[in-house]
């Protein structure tokens, strides 16, 4: 009685070994490092570049070690994490803007461990420090812009088909055309149906007028939104890469939100400027003197031109989407400029527009979306602050067209070299398909992160020590079994989290502590049952056997229900709460293994099949 077949011992041993191996990488803390790479992928990084960088670090008195070149990038490890930012700016200054200098964490995991797939746990922002943004994609504005284009297209198509409309307007995402004759209404409806597949026209009558109203079909709306969000994610990824951050996270959340997490970044102002900018450009011709229709008035962006206004045509020649490359530089007079290269289509459009308009002005509009908070009354009549997104368009340059422009030209009239390089970066990374604004932002300082880790570790240690002592005193030998199982449970939990690539957060650590407290529950159930059976006069072997057997159903039921709650917690929670849910549910699974199989194996090994006089429980 109470003997495990050899394969069960081997299985447990195997799990224990695997657990220790995959938990081990967490013992090797990564080094703070900086990583150098070229602005474009074709640039070769070599020894001389590395020497240039290390010389700059030497001069600034920043201690480094383990520098390495691998053709595409250079990695320099630093002794002190606090000098990481200083090192970045020193090296950036020494090498110039052609290189990207990124903050990085260089792995210290031994090679054999890394070969086995071992990696340390990822740390959440509350432990590593950094910034977290949640961006709302303004999909409604994408639809409005699209409908605006559709309106002018539809008007043109109606004119061409000689269908006379009395009025045409766009309001609340509904296009409305009115006609004086019924046949025009019918013709217009079939024309819209044929030419514009994404519009759904409906007919109605308003007094003596025949009305056709058209809305976008739900599938078309969904498609547009989908495109806008995924395009924005792609653009954000590129921008974040240009920022030089190690292990950034850019992912979608829900239907129209995007999470951006930048570990280690402290300068939120810069990160926000680069990420949040829609920074699209529009090139439009200046309105002709005397032109009334189809023009729009804009203010100038630069400080020195405050209050100056200019009229531009409504028609857009090209937008920032056509830009394939952009570089900051200086013109003959030493003023900042941006050299722009367009794609073929953009170049052609630019050429047609400028060829016949030499000596007219060409305006470059800078488009930014922002949000301001406004107090509004909600349905319950309470004053609540609501973020109202709006788009700001300002002129960055208005220059006379000297000759027909092609795929390559330049923009001048920028305030500073800094602005020029920022604009170039934004144009290079591509425009956002839809405006976005920040709905959530969290920054954790590096010292707070380090502090959170240390208090987290301390809480786990203290919790573990108290519980272990208690179990030992109360259940003696079996308490020792439970404690071994508890220790193994921690190791397995850490190994599982590392393997799954789960992120450890502060609430996650709290989840581990809670797991430690609750994990012994299974053992308490079993041991109380064994004591009971002994009291009822069972033999020692019989008591152990039925103790484990009878407690098993309770343990499974209790843990499954807790697991259900943890899964729901994961589903509805976000960020840190999910971290808590992950550790809690993994902890339940590992604790069931260690508390039931682990302690049983120990009990069987020690007492199984022997003539035991007295059970120390």
């Amino acid at each position: 009685m109470n003997r495990y077949p050899i394969w069960k011992y081997l299985l447990i041993l195997l799990v224990v070994i695997a657990g220790f191996i995959y938990a081990l990488p967490n013992r090797y803390a990564p080094d703070p490092a900086i990583q150098l790479s070229g602005q474009s992928g074709s640039m070769v990084m070599d020894e001389s570049l590395m020497l240039q960088a290390t010389a700059a670090l030497d001069e600034a008195g920043i201690a480094y070690f383990g520098e390495r070149v691998n053709g595409k990038s250079v990695l320099i490890r630093l002794r002190d994490a606090e000098q990481q930012l200083a090192a970045k700016s020193v090296v950036q200054e020494a090498l110039g803007l052609d290189y990207v200098v990124a903050l990085n964490l260089a792995s210290n995991t031994p090679e054999w461990l890394a070969d086995l797939g071992g990696t340390p746990m990822k740390l959440g922002l509350d432990l590593s420090g950094g910034v977290h943004f949640l961006l709302q994609v303004d999909t409604a504005s994408v639809i409005s812009t699209h409908l605006d284009t559709r309106l002018s297209e539809a008007k043109a198509a109606l004119r061409e088909a000689r269908i006379r409309y009395k009025s045409a307007s766009l309001k609340d995402q509904v296009l409305t055309f009115t006609f004086t004759k019924e046949e025009w209404q019918d013709q217009a409806t079939s024309l819209i149906r044929k030419e514009f597949r994404d519009l759904l026209p409906t007919q109605s009558k308003n007094g003596s007028l025949f009305v056709v109203s058209a809305t976008m079909s739900t599938t078309a709306v969904k498609e547009k939104e989908e495109y806008a969000v995924s395009q924005n994610i792609t653009t954000l990824r590129k921008r974040v890469n240009e920022l030089g951050v190690s292990e950034p996270i850019v992912q979608r959340q829900g239907r129209d939100r995007i999470i951006v997490e930048l570990p280690g970044v402290q300068d939120t102002a810069e990160a926000k400027r680069i990420i949040g900018k829609t920074a699209n450009l529009e090139f439009r011709l200046e309105a002709k003197p005397g032109q009334i229709a189809g023009r729009e008035e804009f203010a100038f962006r630069s400080e020195s031109d405050q209050g100056r206004l200019a009229w531009l045509e409504r028609k857009i020649v090209i937008s920032g989407d056509s830009v394939t490359n952009a570089n900051a530089g200086y013109d003959e007079n030493g003023r900042a400029q941006v050299d722009i290269t367009l794609d073929a289509g953009g170049g052609r459009a630019m050429h047609y527009a400028t060829r016949n308009n030499i000596k007219r002005g060409l305006g470059v509009l800078f488009i930014e979306s922002k949000a301001r908070l406004e107090m509004q009354k909600n349905e319950a009549g309470e004053e609540v602050s609501v973020a109202v997104p709006y788009v700001e368009k300002t002129i960055i340059s208005l220059a006379t067209v000297q000759s027909a422009l092609g795929v390559q030209f330049r923009i001048t009239g920028l305030d500073s070299p800094g602005e020029a390089s920022e604009l170039a970066l934004l144009l290079r990374a591509g425009a956002l398909a839809a405006p976005m604004y920040f709905v959530e932002e969290r920054t954790i300082g590096p010292s707070l992160g380090a502090e959170n880790i240390s208090i987290g570790v301390k809480s786990v240690q203290l919790g573990l020590a108290i519980v272990a002592l208690f179990m030992l005193v109360y259940y003696r030998v079996f308490g020792l079994f439970a404690n071994l199982a508890l220790g193994l449970n921690l190791v397995l939990l850490i190994a599982a989290m590392s393997l799954l690539g789960a992120t450890l957060t502060l609430p996650g650590i709290a989840g581990i502590v809670l797991t430690v407290g609750m994990a012994v529950d299974a053992n308490v159930l079993i041991f109380s049952r064994i004591r009971e059976e002994l009291k009822n006069g069972e033999t020692i072997q019989g008591a152990i056997h039925s103790g484990y057997d009878r407690a098993f159903v309770s343990i499974v039921d209790a843990n499954v229900t807790t697991l259900i709650v943890a899964v729901i917690l994961y589903a509805v929670g976000s960020g840190p709460v999910q971290g808590f849910a992950v550790t809690l549910s993994l902890g339940i699974l590992t604790s069931m293994f260690t508390a039931i199989m682990g302690t049983r194996a120990l009990a069987n090994l020690v007492y199984g099949g022997r003539n035991v006089e007295k059970l120390w429980i």
Binding site: E441, T443, S459, L514, D521, S528, V560
Partner: protein, 305 residues
Amino acid sequence: MNEQVIYDFMGRRRLAAIASVVLLIVAIGSLATKGLVLGLDFTGGTQIEVGYQQAAELTQVRSALEQGGFKNPVVVHFGTESDVLIRLQGQPEAGLSDQVMAVLKVANPAVELRRIEFVGPQIGEELRDDGGLGMLAALAVVMLYVAIRFQYKFSIAAVCALIHDVIITLGFFSLFNVEFDLTVLAAVLAVIGYSLNDTIVVSDRIRENFRLLRVADASEVINESLTQTLGRTIITSLTTLLVLLALFFIGGELIHNFSIALIVGVFVGTYSSIYVAANILLAMDISREDLMPTEKEGVEFDGLP
């Protein structure tokens, strides 16, 4: 010690019922009149934590901010005397942290930025809805599971006990003005998990004893089951409480309220599995007939451990 004493838990069931009802009325009353002090996660807004070398004078920090052009800043200590939490209205423009830090550095150069959080108003609202929805979903799924594994009377008893625990824990937060943020919501859900754990273990014993004991009186069976599980209940609650106290004292300010919620929850949860769940079972006239197995439960697990 072979003569086992059976505690007459159910003898005091009326008293316990009254106590529960009183607690519930106080909790609901406080929630209805005072409501919860919602944290930034749910209200939206901007909050900045800064650290000083020594104890910081709040009035100085406040006046420095007001002179710097920040309207109505809320300034409080956070955890220690040297940590200060500042709440500002509105959305941070790019560079807000720099502005705040510049203003504070004028007053006292030894100040360090610890964290900044901004939550948009619509996010807060959504989180509130999601949180409530999560709790309801958890209760519904648990009810279903218990109904399948046990019997519907157990399921009603368990869910009543859970609702009891959640309301009292929330009531505690309302009554003592403890801030309710996202981590506390997580803790409340964990309380559901914990209390359920307890209730299931007790229910499991009650079911077993109904089948095992040849006694007709339900309250006797329940008393015996509660007595048998009492040792386990106390020890598990004790170990959990011990680690929670460790979290409470050294876990830092960010999970302070989290541990409060769980400490309250463990007390209430332990009490409720004895006096709410069992009480309701008795009130619903649970009997042997309810539990006569159509198939032997637990058969599928035999031989596993």
